[in-house]
């Protein structure tokens, strides 16, 4: 795009077309032996997930046999039991905490990313690295003061406490991701639009939004996944009202009786939203996980 003058060597390499762009069909083929190895490894990694889902559809008695009963009859009993045992409020709490924190993250991160890419403030790289450095601080070290403050102001066991904390947790990731997308808005077009006298709303709507939309989707996905899965704050700051799905999971395990099939059903159910979202957006996943550094 706006590549002029003295560019470092890595950039020259990037100018070359990626092998995949060149011809997606022409990656070398694996020999049958290595194909077998690849599939063996894949199935080994996937086996625990498959076992979890299969057990979720078994009766407790069939789930606890040794050797395992792979072909036991399938049933939906475990899932209806879960609904009876009121998993729904926990799922709703999780959904609320994830969705609201994701919305709040976007509301804060998008303008910030704009001020770090399209109309960059002075020393914008320092600001970027300030955001990133907060991500490196371990959450556990903040738990004590947060617990004390939250307790003092009577916000323990409140879903909005989690919303705020998850927002802070994901904001650096979102700023980095959104910046990497907004940086792709062609500068020439921005400048041309301004020369033509287009107002800010027009520029945002016509030039920025088309490029930013996929970024917005990818960022929301990553923030949603991290909030949905968060456990440490949820288990320590909530009790009965605001507990989320992971807290439900550790809470319903008892020492009495068989629970494996029900546990697997619960684990499957709470993992489902992220599994679906992650499978649907595989290509966006790596960019999000690497904070926008890897395309």
């Amino acid at each position: 795009m706006s590549a002029h003058a003295a560019t470092p060597v890595p950039f020259v390499q990037r100018l070359r077309r990626r092998r995949q762009d060149l011809d997606p069909g022409q990656a070398p083929r694996l020999s049958p032996l290595w194909t077998f190895v690849a599939w063996l490894a894949t199935l080994a990694f996937f086996a625990p997930v498959a076992w979890m889902v299969l057990t979720a559809f078994h009766q407790e008695a069939d789930a606890a046999t040794n050797p395992p009963s792979l072909l036991a009859p399938l049933t939906l009993d475990q899932f209806s039991l879960l609904l009876e045992r009121d998993i729904t409020p926990y799922l709703l709490n999780s959904a609320m905490a994830s969705v609201f924190s994701t919305l709040l993250v976007l509301a804060l991160a998008v303008p910030a990313a704009y001020a770090l890419s399209i109309k960059p403030v002075e020393k914008w790289t320092d600001v970027m690295f300030f955001f990133l450095s907060t991500k490196f601080l371990p959450l556990i070290a903040a738990l004590l003061p947060i617990y004390m403050i939250v307790k003092d102001i009577g916000m323990l066991d409140n879903i909005w406490t989690l919303v705020l904390l998850y927002t802070a947790m994901n904001l650096p990731i979102a700023v980095w991701m959104m910046r990497s997308f907004l940086a792709e808005v062609p500068k020439e077009i921005l400048e041309a639009a301004e020369v033509d006298g287009a107002g800010l709303p027009t520029v945002l709507l016509r030039v920025v939004a088309p490029v930013a939309m996929p970024g917005l989707a990818a960022t929301s996905l990553i923030c949603f996944i991290f909030s949905w899965n968060e456990f440490m704050f949820a288990v320590n700051l909530t009790a009965t009202q605001a507990s989320t799905a992971p807290v439900f999971l550790v809470g319903f395990i008892t020492n009495e009786g068989l629970f494996l099939a029900r546990l697997c059903a619960a684990a499957t159910l709470v993992s489902l939203p992220v599994l679906i979202a992650g499978f649907a957006a595989q290509d966006k996943l790596v960019r999000g996980l690497s904070l926008g550094a890897v395309k």
């Binding site: 070359r16 092998r19 996937f46 979890m52 910030a112 903040a142 403050i149 494996l260 996943l285 904070l291």
Partner: protein, 321 residues
Amino acid sequence: MTTLAHAPKKTMRPPAHHGPKSPAGRTWRRRFPLLPALIFTIVVTQLPFVATLVISTFQWNILRPDDRHFTGLSNYTFVFTDERLRSAVVNTMVLTASVVILSVLLGLGLALLLDRRFLGRGLARTLLIAPFLVMPVAAALLWKHALYNPDYGLLNGTLNAVYRLFGADNGPTLDWISTFPMPALVIALVWQWTPFMMLILLAGLQAQPGDVLEAARVDGASALQTFRHITLPHLRQYIELGIVLGAIFVVQTFDAVFTITQGGPGSRTTNLPYEIYLTMFRKFEYGQAAAAGVVVVIGSIVIATFALRVVASLFREEASR
């Protein structure tokens, strides 16, 4: 940030701007969209750490509320001499290093396979990222109860089935978690983090300049030579990125320790986050927990310094476009 001394100046130069605004007004107009995010981050993430720092200088047990007083650095003396905390530091390092190294190696292997074409490559990739998408607490419970359980877990169940296949009466009844607590934890975490490493390394492999590989092939380089001299140097920064990001997340591991071993047996798998949690909510020693927290933060800063350098090198490349 010294690492950024060479950051591109080009983009920092304000582009030609139209509309007669005073320079100061323009500067603030540019800064304005940034402020909400910046203020929010400072309030929610930086202030608690200041509070942690203050609390760490107090003798403060919630069970003895009248005995709260300033003790200077004595909590730190405790942290550095306490047997449990020292073993927590060692456990944290062992856990983090093993998980990161093993998952990078496995991830690299898988990425190299998935970089080639084979029957069902897309499906294999989808199945492989599943472990990373399963909720971490669910994954930990799955390993503890469905796989490691001595009586009805899949591992012993499979062993048993294999033994019977060969005519033996019963397989061994291994209690995986109490016999091998740390490996049990490491394996469950490696299972979860390998897909993450694979995705980053696969993206790295696919970003290889095709013409260089083509040239190597034309010049008659063997596959091993190509890998050693072209692919590996190219992958280096992706491997570094995987290592630092992995380390940042794995150092903070709480879910798996809480669920699979509860830090036991004894304190053989207690890592720092879990030890701080115990100090806070089981021993109620707030001052000590805060001091341990500060030590963890300092440790993280050491990792983060490396991390920032790695990210900065990728970032510089990207920003120079």
